[in-house]
């Protein structure tokens, strides 16, 4: 827990509100209590949130959940717009740097766009595997991108070899990089750090 607490302090110094959890199970429990009846929930493409397993429970409780992974490609614009406007937005972070900044690389832009400008309460759930003292972009391109490329069936060099070549592939997903040094002005958001590995 020591490492998690160090990163909590660094994030708080930069103005982020942080909660700390021992396990993913605790996060799941807390999230289901936090989200009030009737609230709409948007999800940014996240293996962390997928692994958390809250989606089915939220839907069973009557919440509208807007997650473009779970809809058809034709519906993507509409679903991501609803997620942007939803009462809650759940995602992870690709990396949290030791100086207390949040880092994300995105392809479509809906995840990082909603992270910054979304209208509801943002909860960023990050396992301890996201905490890094090395260059955060290097961490992301080594530990997250290849797995995501494979998961999405993309024909990028990193999907085939595991190594980033800064490719010109039409399937390239690393188009947008966002470093959040502080919470965006007036953004209602929390970072939930978890003392377990979660997602990529």
């Amino acid at each position: 827990m020591e490492k998690v607490l160090q990163y909590k302090a660094a994030l708080e110094k930069r103005g982020f509100k942080v909660r700390v959890f021992e396990s993913a199970a605790q996060v799941k429990e807390t999230l289901l209590v936090e989200i009030p009846e009737g609230a709409t929930v948007g999800v940014g493409g996240s293996m962390t949130i997928e692994e958390l397993g809250v989606e089915a429970i939220l839907r069973a409780k009557g919440h509208e959940v807007y997650w473009h992974w779970k809809s058809s490609p034709a519906e993507r614009a509409e679903v991501t717009a609803k997620a942007f406007l939803a009462d809650y937005y759940l995602m992870s972070a690709n990396a949290i740097y030791c100086d207390g900044s949040l880092w994300n690389i995105d392809g479509n832009g809906n995840r990082v766009g909603t992270m910054i400008g979304g209208m509801g309460k943002l909860i960023v759930v990050a396992g301890k595997n996201k905490l890094t003292e090395e260059d955060p972009v290097a961490r992301i391109k080594r530990d997250a991108c290849p797995k995501n490329a494979v998961r999405l069936g993309l024909k990028t060099p990193c999907a085939l070899t595991g190594k980033c070549t800064d490719c010109a592939s039409p399937d390239r997903m690393c188009k947008l990089t966002v470093e959040l040094k502080n919470p965006p002005t007036a953004r209602n958001m929390e970072v939930w750090l978890v003392n377990e590995d979660m997602g990529y």
Binding site: G15, A77, T80, A81, F84, L85, D106, G107, N108, G109, N110, V112, G113, T114, I116, G117, M119, R172, C174, K175, L176, T177, V178, E179, L180, K181, N182, P183, P184, T185, A186, R187
Partner: protein, 201 residues
């Protein structure tokens, strides 16, 4: 610094570009492009302000959404309207010679619209935004854009007072929260209008 070298690099990255000799040319083209009865989102870009298109387009039935020009209680709806408008107009605070866009934002509504949306995004970019070789895009912004913007917005930041970034606290009215690097266009309609004059900060 000249768009001649940068424009092909932007296109290689998949950005659609248009080139204009003067801001006046870009202005005329923008008026024609937008036409009548359109909804237009604005994100506080001084380059766009300098084009002075609001009066003429309003006469043609266009509506502008700008959260810094509306009543405080309407800000949330204004931001939503801007994000989901027909057009979103901004600039880019820096463009590297190899064609990467750099932007910093405080509230983040401007970069949000640059990153994602269903509107048609037009970024009008003066040649002063081209980053000198060997300098990082964000360095250009901190040196040339943050100080005048902080002064314009009446913030008590280190850079407003001294011209130098002091990585100040949010309580000082910090405007640099989200640092955004765009290497390739996201999956949204984007056009870069490159102008051979200085515009904005």
């Amino acid at each position: 610094m000249n768009w001649d070298i940068v424009q092909p690099n932007l296109e290689k990255r998949g950005f659609a570009t248009r080139r204009f000799a003067t801001a006046a040319d870009a202005r005329a083209a923008l008026i024609e492009e937008i036409g009548e009865n359109k909804k237009i989102g604005l994100g506080g870009s001084m380059s766009v302000v300098s084009l002075d298109i609001e009066g003429e387009l309003k006469e043609k039935g266009c509506i502008f959404y700008n959260h810094s020009a509306c009543a405080p209680e309407n800000i949330r709806q204004e931001l939503i309207n801007a994000q989901f408008a027909d057009y979103y107009l901004a600039s880019s605070s820096a463009v590297s010679q190899d064609g990467v866009l750099y932007n910093i934002d405080g509230r983040g509504n401007r970069v949000t619209a640059m990153l994602w949306g269903s509107s048609k995004l037009i970024l009008v970019i003066g040649k002063n935004k081209i980053v000198p070789k060997g300098e990082d895009g964000f360095e250009r912004i901190r040196r040339e854009a943050c100080p005048p913007n902080c002064r314009r917005l009446n913030r008590n930041t280190g850079c407003a007072l001294t011209g130098k970034c002091t990585d100040c606290a949010p309580s000082a009215g910090r405007i640099c929260n989200a640092f955004v690097t765009i290497e390739h266009p996201a999956g949204r309609s984007t056009e870069l209008w490159l102008v051979d004059e200085d515009m904005g900060y």
